[in-house]
Amino acid sequence: MNRVLIGSAAALILQACATQSEPPRAEAPKPAATTTAAAEPKPWPAGLPADALYDPNAKNGTIFYVPTTDTATLKQADHPRDLSRWLTRSHLDTRGVPPPVKKTLDGPLNGNPEEGKKIAMNTGAGNCWACHALPGDAQPGNQGPSLIDFAKRGMSDEEVYQTIYDRRSVNPMTAMPPFGALGTLSDQQVRDIAAFLQSLK
């Protein structure tokens, strides 16, 4: 666990004490209860602004609404993941993002390329293929450079690790997410993907 993550976790707890300047919309449809009557209602996550589409008692917390034909109300649906810990676009959000960090690689890379491939080529996980071409993808993304024969670049394990952990430390203007710094991927996942890239000859 690095300092940045601990720092932002502390900030989250502090913000829980800050008062919200605006209550949630009075007209917002009441979230349908998805838990059994016996279950203890869960609290609103610390730091999450009051106008977030969130129901602590829904499957993953984060929800969205779906309109249905010929009705005047909205149906609640579960987002596949709880997104409450990251900064939202709400004016009521008082959180920030972790500043760029150049992370040194502790010990050998020790990554599992097979695992790395699964994470990189999965929209719900690493989602590298949204922006990069990877071997065997019929719909390659083209925002970032192709990674098809990446190992030919001859980058060191540490450089690859740092790039995935926080690309902003290499290129401050990058569009690439700082997967490690944001806690989007775990340290081991970053190592696994790095090992996968280093295997692409």
Binding site: F64, P67, T69, D70, L83, R89, P99, P145
Partner: protein, 293 residues
């Protein structure tokens, strides 16, 4: 580290100013600033993607396919280029029915801002600062409010609310969007909206502008983000996935897809983005009902 970039991304990058926040009051945050034209309007796209030249006139849209289609900003789905009947037409009919029921004695139209019951041009008065609600609102928020005052529930973002919105918008078809963001609450809202549009957020640290400015025209596994200029004259829209979608529901979809916790429909942040994007549509004609993939 320089890697071959296409001409387009080099161009987009040249337009970008990048700034990390330094204001003491705000925690560390990052922005992808776009170069919004001043005064804002659809013509500003000339300094952005420069695709306006292709979709300016719907009756003369050139045929494009594959990798170039994004340059048409989906305007080829609009009439007169596309005569197909779609779910938006059914919504318009339903909206007319609902409107007529609500408007017995003209109370609904008056509340919406048309005291004489003439709906022509009414759509163009939104978003606006609302004296009753004491904040800047979009038309769908006002529909919910006025229906509520008359004892009906039309939740903002619901099918029926959007249907009424489409029905009202049809009376302004062909008239250009023209909201004034040069002063007062709308100016503040525009500035806030612009800032939020450019704020990096969520588990991927992406701003709206990361996709619609920085990655515009790029292929994100089969999806290509288009320009955010001229985007707000066809809402709510009928989506090919069989959903009548309001603009704020579309915002939740973009947030969802980019790993950002979505916000309440009608929230101030979404309304401010609506104001910002509306101003970037100034000069582009209304088109309702519409459909998008």
């Amino acid at each position: 580290m320089t890697k071959p970039q296409t001409l387009l991304s080099a161009l987009a990058c040249a337009l970008l100013g990048y700034a990390a926040s330094v204001a003491a009051a705000e925690p560390y945050r990052e922005y992808v600033w776009d170069a919004t034209s001043n005064p804002p309007g659809v013509e500003g796209d000339k300094g952005h993607t420069d695709t306006y030249q292709y979709w300016k006139d719907r009756s003369k849209l050139p045929a494009m396919n594959g990798a170039d289609e994004w340059k048409l900003n989906w305007k080829f789905r609009d009439r007169p280029g596309n005569d197909q009947l779609h779910g938006g037409d059914l919504a318009q009919e339903r909206g007319e029915e609902l409107y007529k029921k609500l408007n017995a004695g003209n109370a609904f139209a008056a509340c919406m801002g048309a005291p004489d019951g003439n709906l022509k041009g009414l759509r163009l008065k939104y978003p606006r600062y609302d004296e009753d609600m004491k904040k800047v609102v979009g038309m769908e928020a006002r529909i919910e409010y006025c229906a509520g005052k008359l004892g009906s529930k039309l939740v903002n973002g619901s099918y029926d609310n959007s249907a009424v919105s489409i029905y009202i918008a049809t009376f302004s078809n062909g008239m250009p969007m023209a909201i004034d963001v040069s002063q007062g609450p709308l100016k503040d809202s525009f500035e806030r909206g612009r800032k939020v549009f450019n704020l990096k957020a969520g588990r991927m640290n992406l701003a709206c502008a990361s996709c619609h400015v920085q990655m515009v025209g790029k292929n994100l596994r089969g999806q290509t983000p288009t320009t955010h200029y001229g985007d707000l004259t066809h809402w709510p829209t009928w989506r090919g996935k069989d959903e009548l979608q309001s603009l704020h529901v579309r915002f939740t979809e973009c947030d969802k897809n980019s790993g950002v916790q979505p916000l309440q429909i009608g929230s101030q942040s979404y309304t401010d983005i609506e104001v910002y994007l509306s101003a970037l549509s100034n000069g582009y004609p209304m088109q309702a009902p519409s459909m998008r993939d």
